[in-house]
């Protein structure tokens, strides 16, 4: 059963007409001879010093990494810094990438760490990836409030309003759950890769994902409650 329409290789096609300029002062894009679709060939070429190949990797993942850091930090400045740091660190440390995982998984791991560091700086006492000791909103609370949403609850809202609601509820989620939900359900990363990225067990990913989904569902109840007219 596929719930999300994000492609398996984690790619978001760039929008039509998206600029490929390297910078405002250097409008000439680098060109690599490496076939664009072959990630491992791009990584090998980048390791051998082909800057254009690395730029291809950046072009491929910059939107996804920015979305991820934005969703984790909930702050544009922190999201930009985390994304930039993640790409620079991945370039600098490319020699250490052994190819045991996809390059994208390795990059996401760096980006998640950078974003969480930013979050910890802003909220030093609130960001921990350890299991909360007293989590009262878990599985046991599910049946406290049973609310039917009707067939297409999101259509009750204009797109901008819906985006604000989704940003707000995801921002309310504890980072320990937010990150797992973002990786699994928004970025389409597998359970095993999520465990690898966060350095936790597969069982912990599953448990956190369940709680994240239930918490988000509960937070959305007040917006999507089926009205009398439905």
């Amino acid at each position: 059963m596929v719930l999300c329409q994000i492609s398996a290789d984690g790619r978001i096609p760039p929008p039509l007409g998206a600029p490929r300029r390297l910078s405002a002062t250097d409008p000439k894009p680098l060109t690599s001879t490496v076939v664009r679709d072959d990630e491992s060939a791009l990584v090998s070429a980048a390791k051998a010093g082909d800057a254009a190949a690395f730029e291809e990797l950046v072009n491929r993942y910059e939107r996804k990494i920015f979305r991820l850091t934005m969703n984790i930090t909930q702050n544009r400045e922190d999201a930009e810094d985390s994304m930039q740091e993640a790409f620079l660190k991945s370039f600098t440390n490319l020699d250490r990438f052994q190819g045991d995982s996809r390059f994208y998984t390795w990059l996401v791991r760096i980006a998640v760490n950078e974003a969480l560091m930013k979050l910890r700086k802003r909220r030093p006492n609130q960001v921990s990836l350890d299991e909360p000791l007293n989590d009262k909103d878990g599985e046991d609370s599910v049946f406290r409030e049973i609310v039917d949403w009707g067939p297409s609850p999101e259509k009750k809202f204009a797109q901008t309003e819906l985006n604000e609601i989704l940003n707000s509820v995801i921002g309310e989620l504890d980072p320990i759950f937010r990150v797992v939900f973002l990786l699994r359900d928004v970025e389409g990363v597998s359970t095993e890769e999520t465990a690898q990225i966060l350095d936790i067990s597969v069982a912990a990913v599953k448990s956190r994902l369940l709680r994240a989904r239930l918490k988000l569902r509960q937070k959305l109840n007040k917006y999507f409650r089926r009205s009398e007219a439905q």
């Binding site: 059963m1 596929v2 719930l3 999300c4 329409q5 994000i6 978001i12 600029p19 300029r21 390297l22 910078s23 405002a24 002062t25 250097d26 010093g49 800057a51 690395f54 730029e55 950046v58 910059e62 939107r63 920015f66 979305r67 934005m70 969703n71 544009r76 930009e80 994304m83 930039q84 790409f87 620079l88 370039f91 600098t92 599985e139 599910v142 049946f143 049973i146 609310v147 039917d148 949403w149 609850p153 999101e154 797109q159 819906l162 985006n163 989704l166 995801i170 939900f181 359900d185 928004v186 599953k206 994902l209 369940l210 989904r213 239930l214 988000l216 569902r217 959305l220 109840n221 999507f224």
Partner: protein, 81 residues
Amino acid sequence: MNCKKVILELTSYLDGVLDSSMRIDLEEHLARCTDCRIVVDTTRKTIQIFCNSDPVPLPQDVRERLHSALLERFRRNSKTI
């Protein structure tokens, strides 16, 4: 299967990785339990709504600063080789 078990297996069920005998048990329970049916349905919709939401756009100025920083790093790197 009882309601608590349905919740415990919810993620595997929605991800389509529940083994077939367990899935049949769960669906039999859903057929007679309105509360669980609503929980499963609204949790599935939660995931779909987030999946289908507008991706956060990458602003042009953010992208340009990223590529300028990379270019600078490429240049610095090539000088040190």
